[in-house]
Symmetry: C2
Subunit: 99 residues, 2 copies
Amino acid sequence: MTYGYVNSMRTRPGQRDEVVAILLEGVDGLRAAGCHLYAVGVVDDDPDLIRVSEIWESREHHDRSLQLPETKAAIARAMPMLTGEFASQEMTVVGGLGV
Amino acid sequence: MTYGYVNSMRTRPGQRDEVVAILLEGVDGLRAAGCHLYAVGVVDDDPDLIRVSEIWESREHHDRSLQLPETKAAIARAMPMLTGEFASQEMTVVGGLGV
């Protein structure tokens, strides 16, 4: 059973697209780290919000990925553009399509 | 750009797994309806909650799928087992892995 994680983050006004670009830079390394899905999204009526929907081999794979040097570097670059307002939801995926 | 949808629903006590089974029954028809991902999940510390993370070709494909006879029948069967507490989040997927 895989691990699902949905994360919302709020950027400072006008900096959403820059943060999206940082999030997308690291995508190539994610598969090797045990990531099955990493969907970065924006929201029509909230121009400073980013949502990321992720599916990982396991929670441990996800947590470990946060310790990778490239992840830490990306977080450090994005952090000044974020307000600190985060929300996340976890789940254990029990089935479906494409999982 | 695809459409992402994350949906949480609360079941009446003890009925989660029955609702999960209904949600998973219809999976085969989803791809033809324009669904790329349909991940049904449960949560460790909340035994009556179900989360579904979806990615669709477009919002229109998602909305249209709700009108399919098999979807309507599944909703009708699940509804008595739900409390009516729902939460959903939408996004326009701008990139990532597996999207």
